[in-house]
């Protein structure tokens, strides 16, 4: 029987090291979360990293690729190539649980998971990241970046960003 972590071949070890190198690469628009938290990094191999774009028009796409390149180079992975894949399309379900918590702590309501995300209207109200109330309303479906909508909490009267279901 193979014991995980013991019988790792060199390629897998390398992939782990690359993953560690990318763990601190922040999203340029939302620096509280990393490119790993957001699910932008789709796959890591010994010689390449496959990334995906969140929204087709996201202006941060180039900045993200550059940040990943710099992190790879800085950690001795200059030989590792970066490839972009569109399919399967990224969705907010790719945001990790810890990424969701970081978003909430940063003041951005994370998107609901799964079926809820498919429904643009009549979805459950966002939970206010400040006071936790669900007595909230959408002010604008499009917010400060392509990935966010603008909401307001009717309980604590604070506006907040909600990561758009996508």
């Amino acid at each position: 029987m193979v014991t995980p972590g013991r019988e790792l071949n060199s390629a897998t070890r390398e992939a782990h090291a690359i993953r560690a190198a990318l763990a601190d690469v922040p999203d340029p628009e939302i620096p509280a979360v990393s490119v790993l938290d957001l699910g932008i990094v789709r796959d890591i191999g010994a010689d390449r990293v496959i990334i995906t774009t969140t929204y087709t028009g996201c202006p941060a796409t180039f900045a993200i690729e550059r940040s990943i390149r710099q992190a790879l180079d800085a950690h001795g992975f200059a030989h590792v190539a970066i490839e972009t894949a569109l399919s399967p399309p990224w969705s907010t379900d790719w945001i990790t649980d810890s990424g969701r918590e970081k978003l909430r702590a940063y003041g951005i309501a994370p998107p609901p998971k799964g079926a809820d995300a498919a429904s643009l209207k009549n979805g459950a109200p966002a939970e206010c990241p400040r006071c936790g109330s669900s007595d909230t309303e959408e002010l604008s479906r499009f917010g400060s970046t392509p990935c966010k909508a603008l909401w307001r909490c009717k309980a604590c009267a604070e506006p907040f960003d909600r990561f758009k279901c996508h």
Partner: protein
């Protein structure tokens, strides 16, 4: 150009020109939220254009990338439908254009997402989620303006009246479209019409608006026969690359 390159070019040109038009609102919209919405939709369209034009260039294999296709072609080489190049007019006219096009684009990408050609399917599957937002936003505004004040209602009606003559062109099929379908990348656009009509009529009913009367359709965009408006749009969009070819920063 072969049918697949032309198909990608048409998709890219529609998105590029609509994106440029929406971008013209940036900093000028009636409210901050609307400004953000229009600019975000512009970004989505330009993002989609980047993918489709890059694909067109790759299929064509003449060394033209997305930027070359966007900035180094003149009016008659553009293949966008006439609807998307129509001037913004007032806010209601912009919403009318967005409403009519977004529902078409959404239906188109829904079908294209299952295309046999994985390159087209991948872009469509990604873009379809964005166009769903566009269609919803435009529909909400059609209802709000149509079922609003006397002034907003009159403007919404005028906007739809102007844009309606460009509707039929979106659904026209030609030899290129047929070839693209046979090659596994195209969509039978004519077959989308019934569902489009149903969606549009449902929203118009909520907006208490009548469907504008049928007019003689205006055609020609796919063949490069454009209104004078497109030249003005390009003179703005392409200025930098024409004045300083190859400029980067």
């Amino acid at each position: 150009m072969d049918a697949l390159a032309t198909t990608a070019l048409r998709l890219g040109d529609d998105a590029l020109i609509l994106g440029q038009r929406l971008g013209e609102w940036c900093g000028r919209a009636p409210a901050l939220e609307v400004d953000l919405s229009l600019a975000n939709m512009a970004l989505d369209q330009i993002g989609q254009a980047t993918h489709f034009l890059a694909l067109a260039g790759a299929i064509e294999a003449q060394g033209r990338d997305a930027d070359a296709l966007a900035f180094h072609r003149d009016v008659m080489d553009f293949t966008n439908c006439l609807l998307v190049e129509q001037p913004n007019g007032d806010f209601a006219q912009t919403i009318a254009r967005q409403f009519l096009y977004a529902h078409y684009q959404h239906l188109l990408f829904e079908r294209m997402a299952t295309a046999r050609d994985a390159r087209f399917a991948a872009i469509a599957a990604k873009a379809v989620k964005e166009t769903a937002y566009h269609a919803t936003l435009a529909s909400d505004w059609v209802i709000r303006l149509g079922d609003g004040t006397e002034e907003s209602r009159a403007r919404m009606r005028a906007g739809l009246d102007w844009m309606w003559r460009f509707v039929d062109e979106m659904f026209v099929m030609d030899e290129t479209d047929d070839d693209a379908i046979n090659a596994g990348a195209g969509v039978d656009k004519a077959a989308l019409r019934a569902e489009w009509d149903a969606r549009i009529d449902a929203i118009l009913a909520q907006a208490t608006l009548q469907r504008p009367p049928s007019r003689r359709p205006v055609l020609g965009g796919r063949q490069g026969r454009h209104s004078e408006h497109l030249g003005h749009l390009l003179s703005d969009m392409q200025f930098l690359q024409r004045a300083y070819p190859g400029a980067t920063w």
